[in-house]
Amino acid sequence: MQKTLSESKRCSPITVKSLPVRSNHGPAALQSPSNRAEQRSCPQWRRANMALMELASLEKSLGFKKANKYSTQGNNKTPILQSNKGAPLIGLVTIASHLVQEAAQPELLGRTAEQRAVVRQWLEYRVTQLDGCPKEDIRSILKELNQYLEDKVYLAGSDFTLADILLYYGVHHIMADLSVQEKEQHMNLSRWFDHIQHYPGIRQHLPLVVVLRNRLYTGGHH
């Protein structure tokens, strides 16, 4: 019904470099950070798949030519980045931040110390609050994000960052399920979401979610 951003328009804003391998050795306790082994609302296979697909998408967005190898561990299906040398990197945020560094786009992690803190906070929000969030709490998350985004273009204010990318991937399946009315109720969130999904090179494999720009339910209630 609605044609948008053609595939060919997608551009890779980053020049590709050969990727140096970092060694990473965390303390033993951090190797298995998941004591929360129990089930959550999102099926495990789906979460595992989601995390891996989004890392693949992120690589493409960042302009990597060759895909890295990933696996998952634990009941939460935490992603692991395998490398040829040294120990693997564990955890979505750690890996994503690492990829951004490797792609020489450190500004995606924030330009100032304050901004970096804000980015880190939303990345943590993504993996602690959003992932595996039980169905009944989704409303309150949407509400929070909507309020937060009321006076912001991006999560870290006026700069596009990694927080926008990962939060976009994280809320995509929720946004896709919202009704037109619900999307309109969370107008700031929808506006941000629509903006990010049209940001060059970000959407990748994900289907476009239709966000109407005209208000349909202006009366507040029928």
């Binding site: 951090l30 129990e38 943590e124």
Partner: protein, 857 residues
């Protein structure tokens, strides 16, 4: 940096790491204990750091790293250097260690929590704990009140989502695909158990009324939330309380517990008064009429109450007034005047549910006078903005009137003490714990127990004559009065907390009344009442993708289920299979047909039928000689494992999960028959014939076990199987003892009866017509909803069509994803194409040239 403010709270371990890192890095910030809410977050969080730029950081770890960064250290390399740091300089490694230390602090500061195996962790913890920074900040958070303050903080927090899904049984989901490997010991043990047989177990005694608590038995009192008499219960109500309670009561009786299951209709209140006015009857006549409706619905669903009573009885008045006076004499009731909404036009005070207005908290425009459906908060009716009388739509006025309040704050500490004990020893579903905790966290307030109405239990105090008790005070007392109508010795159940275990079944909206308010009434009355020890609350059941709604005619209501020609047992099965344990679930016709056809017909029914048919066709209706081989014993072990699992689950009221065990057994059984092919072996030599006999004999015995396990779920089917197999009366009793044991109950030579199929296929057309019948108005609903918005101009018409088209597209995709019946999909796609044509026409385009495009969608 001095403008930075760090907000912390007492007893919050997350503040430890932030304070510690601030201390460590030397970053200066004002530390405040004042309340500061992050404007966009819905829950208060600590710690919060207010940055110089005005942004809030509300996550402890980013705050820690921020401190580290502003103190001039490089965070990016931190992760890569952890190991080096830890090994070389303990001082630097503490950031990681301190964060872990703080998270583990509440648990590990009591060393007895740590199993011996984890000595390395213990050593590490001691080392970090001994650091001066840790010592200082730990004291600051605890405010010298030791670990107790941490405990109090943690108890009031809602459980994190992951922990809500009751831990130990979760691995189950993963195991389901992978066959559980049986060890040799398990297989041999299963063989030995089997050969014990029935021995000479006595036949279980018949139920004899009145059932009273007995010495030396497990005395279980089961209640299900009292349905309100005016509403015809829908499937969600049925699964939420009476059906769940019935399964548990039936199971308890099978286990040999001394169980009493009572329920009844809740009949007082304004809704009844109104209904009576509408139908020109007296309230009592209305109650009589609808009580009978309820009773017949539950009878059809085979709900086996020991007593199904009602609240409009003498006993109710007697017991409610007794509890009232006891509370009054002990000073737990306080008088106060209340502002109430009075409709001048209708000449009466408006009960909460007869006022609607805008929620003062979330601005939801259709909030009821007692609670907002959107944000769930309780509301005082006079706080509503723009209140409206629901009957005449006029604006009511505020009038004051004297009322009595139950002093919940005075009872709070007693309540907390009891709750701690009840929750730690009993079985409370996670939502029940969660809801109760959030009530306590918000603090209790006095609650009004009287109302200016007529149809209710009269308040006996002369100063409050002409008033009645508020339903929330009155209705739970119904459990007692209904038991009192059943037996004069009701106090043996209700004033016997040492010997009686009380199970309350309900949907989650009823939790606070059963876990906080009613226990407070009983605690305050100080009469040694039996309080709830097991509170079992379900989530909600939705209908297809929407809510059940009587007014919109959406969904299946109790009185209609029997008109569907689908047997009551199949209804029970599907509702229990869907039981919203842990999360909401949705009733769907297509899924019901699928489950009936795949699980009941092809799996369960097929196995039992084959087992019986082999015995009657090949062995003249007798159980043949059996000589068990390793493979047979392996099946016995698998079946025994499922049986024990079933018992463990049902003991913990995991009704839906236990049903899966039954289906697993018949799956194992089908596989066993399939592999051994008795229908071929019967034509072979002696050895093959013996083999066919063994397989048939074992299968018939598994079928007999299934009949016992099915009894709580599908009583009629279970009875039919028992009849077909001529199973001895004591077999269920024997197998359900203790942890459960699968024994040979039908020995060689046992004669079985006539075998016939147990289930029928649900055909696609049948389901499609039912769906239309019960959800039929929905499409119409959608249309009229948007018609409101749509006026006659073509522009708005195309808007409306676009929307409907969107919904239709979703529906088609959903059907395809569910792999629904082809005819169904074709019908919906046809609708979709029709809509597209209409849309094109509305937009003034010619729809003909692009029919291909439509099909792609």
């Amino acid at each position: 940096m001095s403008e930075m403010k760090l907000f912390v709270s007492d007893g919050n371990p997350h503040c430890l790491k932030v304070l510690a890192v601030a201390e460590l890095t030397g970053v200066k910030c004002d530390i405040c204990h004042a309340k500061r809410l992050v404007p966009f977050l819905s829950h208060p969080v600590r710690p919060v750091l207010l940055l110089p730029c005005g942004q809030h950081l509300f996550k402890a770890n980013p705050i820690c790293l921020y401190f580290l960064e502003v103190s001039g250290r490089d965070v990016c390399d931190l992760t890569s250097q952890w190991l080096e740091w830890e090994a070389a300089e303990l001082q630097e490694a503490t950031v990681v260690d301190i964060v872990l230390w703080a998270a583990l602090y509440p648990l590990l500061s009591n060393s007895s929590f740590l199993p011996d195996k984890l000595q390395c962790v213990a050593r590490w913890f001691e080392q970090v704990n001994a650091l001066p920074v840790c010592q200082t900040v730990a004291q600051r958070v605890q405010q010298q009140k030791s670990l107790e303050s941490l405990k109090r903080f943690l108890q009031k927090q809602p459980l994190p989502p992951a922990r809500c899904r009751n831990a130990p049984l979760c691995n189950r989901a993963e195991e389901e695909d992978a066959e559980r490997e049986m060890t040799d010991e398990e297989i041999q043990a299963a063989g030995a158990t089997w050969s014990r047989g029935l021995a000479d177990r006595p036949t279980p005694a018949e139920r004899r009324h009145p059932i009273l608590p007995q010495e030396g038995k497990r005395n279980v009192l089961i209640t299900s939330a009292l349905p309100y008499v005016n509403n015809v219960p829908h499937l969600g109500n049925i699964i939420g309380c009476v059906l769940s309670a019935d399964v548990f009561a039936r199971y308890g009786r099978l286990r040999g517990w001394n169980a009493l299951f009572v329920c009844g209709t809740d009949e007082y209140g304004t809704a009844t008064e109104n209904k009576a006015r509408e139908e020109g009857l007296s309230p009592q006549e209305i109650c009589d009429k609808y009580h009978a409706v309820h009773a017949s619905i539950y009878k059809w669903f085979q709900i086996d109450f020991d007593h199904f009573g009602r609240t409009t009885t003498e006993k109710q008045t007697e017991i409610a007034q007794d509890i009232f006076w006891r509370l009054y004499d002990r000073g737990f009731l306080i008088p106060d005047t209340v502002d109430q909404l009075h409709c001048e036009n209708c000449q009466r005070f408006l009960a909460d549910r007869f006022v609607e207005g805008i929620c003062p908290n979330c601005r939801y425009p259709e909030a009821r006078g007692d609670q907002c459906d959107k944000c769930g908060r309780l509301i005082n009716a006079v706080e509503l903005k723009d209140p409206q009388c629901k009957v005449c739509k006029r604006t009511p006025v505020v009038r004051s009137s004297a009322h009595l309040f139950l002093d919940l704050p005075k009872l709070e500490s007693q309540l907390e003490q009891w709750l701690e004990q009840s929750m730690s020893t009993g079985n409370w579903t996670s939502n029940a714990r969660h809801i109760t905790r959030s009530w306590l966290r918000d603090g209790l307030k006095p609650r009004c127990i009287t109302r200016d109405l007529r149809w209710g239990t009269p308040v006996p105090h002369p100063d409050f004559s002409g008033k009645v008790f508020y339903v929330w005070f009155d209705a739970p007392i119904g459990y007692l009065s209904i038991t009192a109508s059943y037996t004069d010795e009701w106090e043996k159940w209700w004033k016997n907390p040492e010997k009686v275990e009380l199970y309350n079944f309900m949907a989650k909206d009823n939790v606070p009344f059963h876990s906080v308010v009613f226990p407070c009434s009983l605690l305050g009355a100080q009469d040694n009442y039996t309080l709830v020890s097991n509170l079992i609350a379900t989530e909600y059941l939705n209908y297809e993708d929407t809510k059940f709604s009587k007014s919109r005619g959406v969904g299946v209501f109790g009185d209609m289920a029997k008109d569907t020609d689908i047997p009551s047992d199949v209804w029970r099965f599907y509702l229990l299979y869907l039981r919203p344990e842990g999360q909401d679930s949705a009733f769907s016709w297509a899924d019901m047909a699928l489950k009936n056809n795949s699980e009941l017909l092809n799996n369960l029914g097929n196995f039992i039928n084959r087992a019986g048919m082999f015995a009657s066709k090949f062995f003249e209706g007798r159980v043949p000689q059996m000589e068990l081989q390793q493979e047979d014993k392996r099946l016995l072990a698998q079946v025994g494992f499922e049986l024990r699992q079933y018992i463990q689950l049902l003991d913990r009221v995991r009704i839906r999960d236990a049903l899966k065990c039954i289906l697993n057994i018949s799956r194992h059984g089908n596989q066993y028959i399939q592999v051994n092919e008795p229908w071929k072996k019967i034509k072979g030599g002696d050895e093959d014939r013996l083999r066919a006999g063994t397989v048939t004999g074992v299968s018939v015995n598994v079928a007999c076990l299934l009949s016992a396990m099915l009894r709580p779920y599908m009583p009629a089917v279970s009875a039919t199987i028992r009849e077909q197999l001529c199973a001895p009366a004591n077999c269920a009793d024997a197998m359900f003892q203790g942890a459960g044991s699968f024994v040979c109950t039908l020995p060689a030579g046992h004669r079985i009866g006539t075998i016939s199929p147990l289930f029928q296929k649900l055909e696609a057309e049948q389901i499609e017509s039912l769906k239309r019948r019960f959800g039929g108005q929905q499409d119409e609903e959608l249309r009229t909803d948007y018609k409101h918005a749509a006026c006659s101009t073509s522009r708005s018409r195309s808007w409306w069509l676009t929307l409907v088209l969107l919904f239709q597209g979703d529906r088609v995709r959903a059907l395809k994803a569910q792999k629904a019946e082809k005819t169904l999909i074709t019908a919906e796609v046809a609708k979709l194409l029709q809509l597209k044509k209409q849309l094109a026409a509305a937009e003034g385009k010619n729809p003909e040239p692009s029919p291909q495009k439509g099909k792609k969608k």
